[in-house]
């Protein structure tokens, strides 16, 4: 298939064997000498003033080292995108997840007992839990220092002339779509161990997807604590799942730091499952009003979207998800006239953060459900409708996204072929499709979208690769090793990838936006190219030839076709090291993709390339119970070049099943701000019996900017799942469900409503 030796091969995940033997060390398994255990006390109310706190009984408990409250948090220690959220709240609580006190004790049991002994009196305040109601004039204010619950963070863009296009449209449809809270459910819960050395330098073991940015947060925390010019070292143990949950620093990390400093002992905080559900952030819930129109031939003319986002009580990255929602809104299919207006509104609910797809699943649910409605109104087959409006390579979208490679048409073909294999239509059975666009070449969210890699060669022909990238199970370690091995003519086992320690790993902005393969991969490729150049240069002297006549392959450096001029790479390395005036082979490379921050008008080519995909699904709806059974699932993605098809399938399969949960079963149930299902029994993740076999056609469209042509694929798998399901249900039984998750209750209620009206 390819001319590559290592790239494109199904190489098992490098750390899979140690994981399968139970030897991998997760945060749960980290133990330091003298370590204490920290536990956090959360608010008992959604909105209340703290009127009294008495720690005396808890402090008197044997084995308790210290208890911290909001009073002990330095003024400048703040978290989140707005930096408005202290790790422990003082005077007032704004949601059930608000942290009010933290204990360090000799054992977890003592720490838990101490929490029970802390006495707090609250004066309960009225809460507001519905973002649309929170926008009303007489709504109670979540933050008294604001005039309105609407954040001063308007997301507003308008390209072309939507009103004019609407007038000209032959067909117009509109709808209201809502999505609710879902959460990552990493199997390994969150946790951190913080420890100070004698000179007050911090080492923190923590589950993070953003080691360098977390380091910055922790350095700021140290500064706020009055510890100037101290070091913060972030060590990542093996991460038990990420999916975006670890894209920000959390209160528990800051609390562990405060406790460890106060006690002068390492402090470990690890969440139990209910805490993981309650105190980590969810995917951003949305209310979307959408209107789209097309001409009589089905050409999409405009897209008009208003959105309300439940911001929760504090502002984290959830409030910025509209920046990514804009991508499908302006650029999924060709559409010249686009208007988008989103408001983030404070409520006393939990706050949201990044989760796989970062806003894209919510926006795509509305767009792609509504596209089917429009196709129906226009009397055009939904797949054909998408074909008419598909993006093309070379397109520049209204938001100035430059589409380089685009395999949307091939994805449509592949899905259609699979779905239409079994022809005849049974009662209650239907098919649905939905497409996606996602960033595939990094995403310039911060000022930089860069990643650094350092490569060091040893005497034995082995490469140590220090990357800023992060592996959390998705396989960045493999991708890095395969790219370096390919470039240097080594085997994958010759490459040791280090991604766990900020003391040795270079800077990076984190594992998000499906950017690791593209950005960290390009950084690794860049560094490897520099080593390769040195090897060829030094090898040419040893082999008495020119560098450009040499090749690296199978651990050898050689002139093709000339058996005399060949040498083992390790031997060459030893020669380089063990010579008078010798040298060492170390290289570094910082890759910052040529993409753009969005300007004030939100225009800017956010990513160097874009990934496309189409999902198709066949469902059977039980009309008596409303239960939806997924019969077939096809997920075609345009991936550039697959560096490792085995891992690629893993991302797609995993993403799709996560998407199926989002579509059909998952929901964090809140009653007046209180999480009612913080456990795996009541939060409905799919089991092996519920999951379906997924056919995943891989459309290769090698991208000139990707490492060996690759694009990112971490998130797309869960982006169009929900609308594909919703469209299939409509096809099967003629009811359109517009709120997620599409539970049997909703389907049955819609069916009964439909019967009533007929």
């Amino acid at each position: 298939m390819s001319e590559y030796n290592v790239v494109g091969k199904r190489i098992p995940k490098i750390d899979a064997a140690q994981k399968a033997m139970g030897r991998a060390e997760y945060i749960q398994d980290v133990k330091l000498p003298g370590m204490l255990y920290g536990k956090i006390l959360y608010s008992k109310h959604a909105h209340a003033r703290i009127t009294r706190m008495d720690l005396s009984k808890a402090l008197a408990l044997s084995g308790v080292y210290t208890i911290l409250t909001g009073e002990d948090v330095p003024e400048k220690m703040r978290m989140g995108f707005y930096k408005d959220n202290p790790p422990l709240k003082k005077d007032k609580v704004f949601s059930f997840r608000d942290e009010v006190a933290a204990v360090a004790a000799k054992t977890p049991e003592i720490a838990k007992k101490a929490l029970e002994l802390i006495e707090i009196d609250y004066e309960v305040l009225p809460g507001i839990f519905d973002p649309e109601k929170a926008m009303e004039k007489d709504s109670p204010l979540v933050h008294e220092n604001t005039k309105s619950n609407v954040l001063k963070l308007p997301w507003k863009l308008h390209y072309g002339d939507v009103d004019k296009a609407e007038k000209e449209a032959a067909f117009v449809v509109e709808g209201r779509f809502t999505t609710t809270w879902v959460t990552h459910c990493c199997m390994g819960t969150s946790g951190a161990v913080a420890s100070f050395d004698a000179a007050d330098n911090l080492t923190i073991y923590t589950n993070t997807q953003i080691p360098s940015l977390a380091q910055k947060d922790f350095l700021e925390a140290l500064k706020a604590m009055g510890l100037k010019n101290k070091r913060a070292r972030v060590i990542k143990p093996i991460i038990g799942g990420g999916f975006g949950s670890k894209l920000d620093t959390y209160a528990y990390e800051h609390i562990a730091i405060l406790l460890a400093h106060k006690c002068r002992k390492p402090v470990k905080i690890v969440f139990d499952r209910p805490e993981e559900f309650i105190a980590t952030s969810t995917r951003q819930p949305t209310v979307t009003h959408i209107k789209q129109g097309c001409d009589k031939n089905g050409k999409l003319l405009f897209r008009d979207i208003r959105m309300v986002l439940d911001n929760g009580a504090h502002t984290s990255w959830g409030a910025t998800t509209p920046s990514v929602m804009m991508m499908p809104i302006t650029s999924l299919y060709r559409v010249d006239n686009v208007r988008y207006d989103a408001k983030c509104v404070y409520t006393n609910n939990t706050y949201s953060q990044a989760m796989r797809g970062y806003g894209n699943p919510q926006a795509t649910f509305a767009i792609e459900s509504n596209i089917d409605m429009l196709a129906e109104k226009a009397g055009i087959d939904p797949i054909e409708f998408r074909r008419i409006n598909r993006n093309h390579p070379g397109d520049v979208t209204p938001q100035n996204f430059k589409i380089t490679t685009c395999g949307l048409d091939l994805c449509l073909d592949a899905v259609e072929k699979e779905l239409r294999k079994s022809g005849t239509k049974e009662k209650g059975v239907g098919i649905g499709v939905a497409s996606l666009i996602h960033v595939g070449g990094g995403a310039r969210i911060y000022k930089s979208d860069g990643c650094g890699v350092i490569i060091k060669m040893d005497d034995y022909g082995k490469a140590s690769v220090f990357t800023g990238g992060t592996d959390m199970g998705q396989g960045l370690d493999n991708i890095t090793a395969q790219i370096v091995a390919e470039e240097l003519g080594l085997l994958v086992e010759d490459v040791h990838v280090v991604h766990t320690d900020t003391d040795v790993c270079p800077w990076d902005v984190g594992a998000h936006a499906s950017r690791s393969t593209f950005v960290a991969g390009n950084a690794a490729l860049g560094a490897a190219k520099k080593i390769k150049a040195q090897l060829l240069e030094l090898g040419s002297k040893e082999l008495k030839t020119t560098p450009d006549s040499l090749m690296l392959k199978d651990r050898l450096i050689f002139v093709p076709g000339d058996p005399e001029k060949s040498m083992a790479i390790d031997k060459l390395l030893r020669k380089i090291h063990f010579s008078p005036g010798g040298t060492m082979l170390v290289s570094d490379h910082f890759f910052d993709p040529i993409n753009e921050n969005m300007g004030p008008d939100y225009k800017g080519n956010m990513s160097m390339t874009y990934t496309f995909g189409v999902h198709g699904v066949k469902v059977r709806v039980d009309e008596e119970t409303g239960k939806v059974e997924v019969l077939e699932y096809v997920a075609a993605h345009d991936v550039g070049q697959a560096i490792n098809p085995l891992l690629l399938e893993g991302q797609v399969y995993g993403g799709v099943v996560m998407g199926l949960g989002y579509a059909l079963s998952e929901e964090v149930m809140h009653v007046n701000g209180k999480n009612m299902n913080p456990n795996f029994r009541d939060y409905k993740l799919f089991t092996a019996k519920d999951a379906v076999k997924i056919i995943a056609p891989v459309i290769q469209t090698p991208d000139k900017d990707g490492p060996f042509g690759a694009k990112g694929i971490g998130e797309p798998g869960c982006v169009p799942t929900a609308p594909a399901i919703a469209n299939a249900i409509y096809d099967a039984v003629g009811v359109r469900i517009t709120t997620l998750p599409i539970t049997p209750e909703k389907v049955l209620a819609a069916l009964m409503e439909k019967k009533k009206n007929h």
Binding site: R273, E624, M676, K684, T687, K689, E745
Partner: protein, 334 residues
């Protein structure tokens, strides 16, 4: 999550177990598989001083078949019941129900039939962590005076979500309860109280020893709805038993039970007797029975198992209908 502290007793005879129960009565809990009890203890819902484990009581693990009954020891694990040919053949509903409990990994020696019948009633508002519950007034089941599931209710409306109990009630099963020096047999239909705080009409000194299932040639079926195919409690379920006439074309006798709709499985006497004499092909009669089930169940059910009340009421009729159809199909085959 840590378990609270307790004393552990592991009696190796039934007699010793009953002795211990009579001494510790109020403060003791029986541990069979632990899938219900230990979870409740971890959540701080109960904190018994003494745990009396049935681990060593192999004498309570058996399936015995004689002419007119199947007798099952209370500590028999669900996997053994699922594997039993005689249960599958003559008490199909129970076999199916056991298969639906938890997952395969829970069905052998962690999950027992006694534990399944005696699993405590559940409620969305009650089965929460101690911290969750501490932020509000206690409900009836938690020692307080209010019900979060039904306003103004003077009692606990927690729901019995036992698959096994629903199937067994349909089969007309009886329970053998023993205490020191005493043994009594009670029909499962008479085993429930009217308050979810303590849903079972049994003394703290009593131990469930055996389940007796009459087998008189009837055909049974069990149907349930849950969100997932595994690790879920039913949100609505139904068990039926049908006896066919000699000609195998009409119903001679029927028992319809619905579950997960109230504090106990509900035997629908009226709907059951109305089916007598009905033809196997009389789907209208089955539908009527289903609707009757919906009407009866909807008076008891409250919104407390994570699915809407409207939905559970709307589907309970379908579960009854499907169970009847399946049982009829089996009966006409036989």
């Amino acid at each position: 999550m840590r378990l609270p502290q307790f004393d552990y007793k592991g009696p190796d005879t039934l007699e010793k177990a009953l002795d211990l129960l009579s001494t510790h009565a109020q403060d003791a809990k029986i541990l069979a598989g632990g899938t219900d009890l230990l979870v409740r203890m971890k959540k701080g819902l109960i904190a018994p001083k003494t745990i009396i484990s049935l681990k060593a009581l192999n004498e309570l693990s058996y399936i015995k078949k004689d002419k007119n009954t199947i007798r099952i020891g209370a500590r028999t694990c669900l996997a053994d019941i699922i594997a039993s040919d005689s249960v599958r053949k003559e008490a199909t509903a129970l076999s199916t129900a056991c298969e639906r409990v938890g997952a395969v990994t829970i069905q052998h020696f962690r999950g027992t039939i006694g534990g399944n019948i005696l699993q405590d009633n559940r409620c969305f508002h009650y089965n929460q962590s101690a911290f969750h519950r501490s932020g509000r007034q206690a409900c009836h089941k938690d020692g307080g005076k209010i019900c979060y599931a039904r306003d103004e209710s003077d009692r606990c409306n927690s729901t019995c979500q036992s698959d096994g109990a629903t199937a067994l009630m349909a089969l007309g099963a009886k329970l053998v309860l023993v205490s020191k020096g005493n043994e009594r047999t009670v029909a499962l239909t008479d085993f429930y109280t009217t308050d979810g705080i303590m849903p079972f009409a049994m003394e703290p000194t009593e131990l469930l020893k055996e389940i007796i299932i009459p087998v008189e040639g009837g055909k049974s079926s069990y149907q349930r709805l849950a969100y997932r195919s595994a690790i879920d409690y039913p949100i609505v379920c139904a068990g039926v038993l049908l006896k066919a006439s000699a000609k195998k074309d009409t119903i001679e006798d029927a028992r319809i039970v619905v579950g997960a709709m109230g504090r106990a499985p509900l035997f629908l006497a009226k709907e059951s007797s109305e089916l007598k004499g009905k033809s196997f092909t009389d789907t209208k009669a089955f539908q009527k029975a289903g609707n009757g089930a919906m009407n009866s169940a909807s008076t008891f059910a409250v919104h407390n198992v994570g699915s809407t009340l409207e939905y559970r009421c709307a589907t309970v009729s379908e579960m009854v209908f499907r169970a009847l159809q399946e049982a009829v199909a089996e009966a006409s085959k036989a």
